[in-house]
């Protein structure tokens, strides 16, 4: 079979140690110019007595050490990365180059607006494009990640209800929701209440109807949902919540499924967050930075965070004078460098290109689901997944004792990053797979062959799965030991 792109270094890694292990007293990499002003020292009472134990290395040590570590890391540039819910698509190189230009990168956040007209115009245009894509009236680009976007949306929800007398204590979330949803709900001062899914994997409409009352501040949903299925009764769901005066929040984790085809605003959502690092291909950075812009309907615009970018006669300005605003959620203006990359992605694709993104994301996901379905059936086989799907290794586990985690580890030895496993929590032996639109048909077929080979191995040579991975710099790691004997620094 055609195999994927294995991580570099198929042999066990050399015990090279940390950068600190390379440290040699007196060795340096830094250089500064001569001090051409009189020396001044901080007063002795404030001075540091002993220098910090940083490493003493030369530039060549830095290069070899961190290049070596990068080669022990798998990214989208290395190979397919079908990590469900994370939208690991190709990150356009042009966005990196543009965002790295001095005109963007060498800008201080507190420069006068008159000297930042280019960046402010870019943010203004991006805000408008995101509003058009989501069907919202205005947006803030300030939240630096999706979870912060959730917090922003929930604080807007709180401010909205407070103006109307307050008293609402609960926010409803589906049982399949990402963990950030309930965590954000509590940090925003609400209680999270679960609404169950029905046999189709969709929100149980009658259960929601029974659940909501005038204590409910709102409902948080993704659509398509965590199973990759479109909530077909979405209009009824939003109507039920609106009927009791609640607001409906769209978690944009799955926006890659519906670009240009339908919009949260038209489904009845009031607040939307977008993960630019998912939908708009800003690099995930090993775990960040992201950006989590939040759009709102007209009635909620006064509550948006400050500063806001406004267009006035004198040009673009950062407006901080908004008395009903929830305030500031980030020290400055959010992850602007990430937003520049999102701008590049959105306007490179344009209206036609974005629509094609979602179509081909759905095509790739459905094609892959179809190819692996004999071994890994969909958790909800009657549903039509969009950009991602949730399959289950339940049958394989019953037959062979091999679990989803073992399949994932075997996928690594077959040269691919595995899917998400054990999420959503409501599906046994869940395998959440999101190939994204930027993988070729051949790669999808290669992935499918690897999934099926893993299933065959589970039946014929299960030790290959239990012992996997064996081609990586390290084998399975003892996570229990890591938590029991905490070693969090050198």
């Amino acid at each position: 079979m055609k195999e994927g792109a294995p991580i570099r270094g198929q042999s066990p890694r050399a015990e090279s140690g940390t950068i600190h292990d390379r440290s040699v007293p007196g060795r340096t990499a830094f250089s500064f110019g001569p001090l051409d002003v009189p020396e001044a020292r901080v007063p002795a009472a404030f001075a540091r007595a002993t220098p910090p134990g940083l490493s003493e290395v030369a530039e060549i040590d830095l290069v070899r050490h961190y290049t070596g570590l990068s080669q022990q890391n798998y990214g989208v540039d290395t190979g397919a990365y079908p990590l469900g819910s994370c939208t690991m698509k190709h990150n356009p190189k042009v966005a990196e180059e543009v965002a790295g230009a001095a005109g963007f990168r060498r800008m201080h956040p507190l420069q006068p607006d008159a000297t930042a007209q280019g960046t402010l115009e870019l943010l203004w245009r991006l805000e408008r494009a995101l509003c058009e894509i989501t069907g919202m009236a205005r947006a803030t680009l300030q939240p630096p990640a999706g979870a912060c976007g959730e917090m922003t949306g929930l604080l807007i929800m709180r401010a909205f209800h407070t103006e109307r007398g307050g008293g609402r204590t609960k926010v409803v979330i589906p049982d399949s929701a990402h963990g950030t949803n309930p965590a954000s709900v509590r940090l925003a001062g609400f209680e999270a209440v679960n609404v169950p899914s029905d046999a189709r994997g969709l929100v149980d409409v009658s259960a929601l109807d029974k659940l909501v009352d005038e204590d409910v501040a709102g409902l948080m949903l993704t659509n398509p949902n965590t199973l990759g299925l479109f909530e077909q009764e979405i209009e009824e769901l939003t109507r039920i919540v609106h009927r009791v005066g609640g607001l409906v929040y769209y978690d944009g984790a799955n926006l890659n499924a519906i670009l240009g085809r339908c919009r949260p605003g038209d489904m009845g959502f009031d607040i939307v967050h977008i993960n630019t690092h998912k939908t708009f291909a800003t690099p995930h950075g090993g775990g960040g930075p992201g950006a989590g812009p939040v759009g709102v309907v007209e009635a909620l615009v006064p509550f948006l965070p400050v500063p806001r970018v406004e267009r006035r006669e004198e040009g673009f300005v950062l407006d901080v004078d908004e008395p009903r605003s929830i305030g500031r959620l980030h020290g400055f203006h959010g992850n602007v460098g990430v937003l520049v990359r999102a701008y590049v992605y959105v306007f490179l694709h344009g209206a036609d290109g974005l629509k094609a993104v979602s179509e081909l994301a759905a095509l790739n996901a459905n094609y892959l689901a179809h190819l692996i379905q004999p071994d890994f059936p969909l958790a909800h086989p009657d549903g039509r997944p969009l950009h991602e799907f949730v399959a289950t290794a339940r049958l394989l586990e019953h037959a062979t004792g091999v679990r989803a985690v073992d399949v994932a580890k075997r996928m690594i030895d077959l040269g691919y990053h595995p899917s998400t496993v054990y999420f959503p929590l409501v599906v046994d032996e869940a395998m959440m797979v999101e190939p994204t639109e930027t993988e070729t048909k051949e790669t999808i077929e290669g992935l499918a062959a690897a999934f099926r080979r893993a299933a065959r191995d589970a039946r014929e040579s299960p030790e290959l799965l239990h012992e996997a991975p064996v081609t990586t710099p390290v084998r399975r790691l003892d996570e229990a030991r890591a938590a029991r004997h905490l070693k969090l620094r050198w």
Partner: protein, 440 residues
């Protein structure tokens, strides 16, 4: 421009395998009533070269800091970013990966984060660091969340803390149910809060928002004696010359980490630093990397103590953070390794010396004085001007100088001036003569 690689034949074959005749069929579950029946009202896609031209025109409409000499700080600083930092941190194997959920495929990011945590501990003199937060302001929010427990819920914060940190804390406090109580700093420093037994924490920034060195040790002693958490907002680049938070008695230390090898980027992406004592590790937010061994006994790294985090604890989690600022933490790690202990000390010496020289030169301009004359400072100081600071700053732009940040919380005539290792004598002298012209 598109990045999806499908040929027409691919699409036909794949649809055929699915028993579908068109891409529209994939979306049959979307109710007709919510379908968008028109194209999005944004322009159709363009080629890469067209897009680059558009964005270059926007960049050209900015006046960036290779065109202006930067004396602006207030939490974001024009420190030098050596080429090595992004040559390594920018490597695609790091940049195009995600949170290391599969540790065997992610030893690179995991080990760098372990090194990052180690370096932050070395810098701060505290026992444990996480793998980064969004920025300095949100790091303070997380520190306050760590400190608040039971009946100890009040949050006291010095008026010497960056006003943007305080604003951010106020925003999040509305959700969590507290209002930060700001205590005054007479003469730009000091201030003694009354720490009752319902106080969770006291926050002091040192060096503070005016650049001034705070008597933090005395305040922290009193705070800890009263049973509250002492939280310090610190400047990581000061710690080659200034005593670290752990030695001053801080329980939790937070900072904006931008200056550690990250570009100014008009405010982000930056990174938040947080460090604390080991006894509080289970209250720490965000990702933490731990060392362990694999099946063959080889050293390796994993995300650990995940039971603290939102994906396990859900509504009981202390923090909702998921995606953080890992790539910025990688840059910070390379930068700190580039500096080493000698580089960090030299950096501090240069900043302190250049700032002292700048303060001397600028206050020699008639009518200009330090806002807080008796107070020691590190790399930043507040000037009191004979006219509104905004006017002065704007007029200095005509001389090619970004002269500082007006600090309206201290008065309309106060300008905060930051001097990093990059500002040489000629630039400082030029600033002084331009200021003389603007005021003259």
């Amino acid at each position: 421009m598109r990045f999806a690689p499908h040929t027409d034949d691919d699409v036909t074959e794949m649809l055929g395998a699915l028993g579908l005749s068109s891409l529209d069929d994939l979306f049959e579950t979307v109710p007709k009533t919510v379908r968008l029946d028109r194209p999005l009202a944004i322009p159709d896609g363009v080629s890469e070269m067209e897009l680059v031209a558009d964005v270059r025109a926007l960049a050209a409409a900015n006046r960036h800091l290779d065109q202006l000499v930067c004396f602006a700080g207030a939490g974001a600083y024009d420190h030098y970013v050596p080429s090595i930092v992004w040559a390594l941190a920018g490597r695609a194997e790091f940049a195009t990966s995600y949170t290391p959920y599969q540790p065997e495929l992610s030893q690179g990011v995991l080990q760098v984060l372990f090194e990052f945590q180690s370096m932050i501990c070395e810098l701060t003199g505290l026992e444990v660091s996480n793998a980064s937060l969004y920025d300095g302001s949100t790091a303070l929010v997380e520190a306050v969340n760590m400190a608040r427990r039971g009946s100890r819920s009040r949050v006291l914060i010095s008026g010497g803390v960056d006003p943007r940190h305080i604003e951010t804390l106020r925003t999040y406090g509305r959700g969590a149910g507290y209002e930060p109580e700001v205590f005054a700093v007479p003469e730009g420093r000091g201030g003694v809060p009354d720490v009752a037994d319902d106080v969770a924490c006291v926050v002091v920034q040192h060096p503070n928002v005016f650049g001034i060195l705070e008597p933090a040790r005395e305040v922290f002693d009193a705070v800890r004696d009263a049973g509250a958490y002492a939280i310090q907002v610190f400047d990581p680049l000061s710690l080659g010359v200034l005593a670290p938070p752990g030695e001053l008695g801080a329980d939790i230390a937070v900072a904006e980490g931008q200056g550690l090898g990250n570009h100014l980027n008009y405010g982000g992406p930056y990174l938040g630093l947080i460090a604390a004592q080991m006894q509080d590790v289970r209250r720490m937010p965000g990702r933490i990397v731990g060392e362990t061994v694999d099946l063959d006994g080889r050293t390796g790294y994993v995300l650990t103590l995940q039971a603290r985090e939102q994906h396990i604890r859900r509504e009981k989690a202390n923090s909702n953070i998921c995606t953080n600022q890992t790539l910025m933490a990688i840059a910070a790690t390379v930068y700190l390794a580039w500096l080493g202990p000698a580089g960090l000390a030299e950096l501090g010496r240069q900043c302190a010396s250049r700032a002292a020289y700048a303060a001397d030169r600028l206050t020699s301009v008639p009518g200009v004085q330090l806002a807080f004359s008796a107070a020691p400072f590190f790399k930043e100081f507040a000037l009191r001007l004979p006219m509104p600071a905004v006017h002065v700053r704007d007029a200095l732009l005509d001389h090619g100088i970004l002269g500082g940040v007006p600090l309206s919380s201290a008065g309309d005539d106060v300008l905060l001036v930051a001097v990093t290792e990059k500002r040489d004598r000629g630039e400082i002298d030029r600033y002084a003569s331009a200021l003389g012209e603007v005021l003259g």
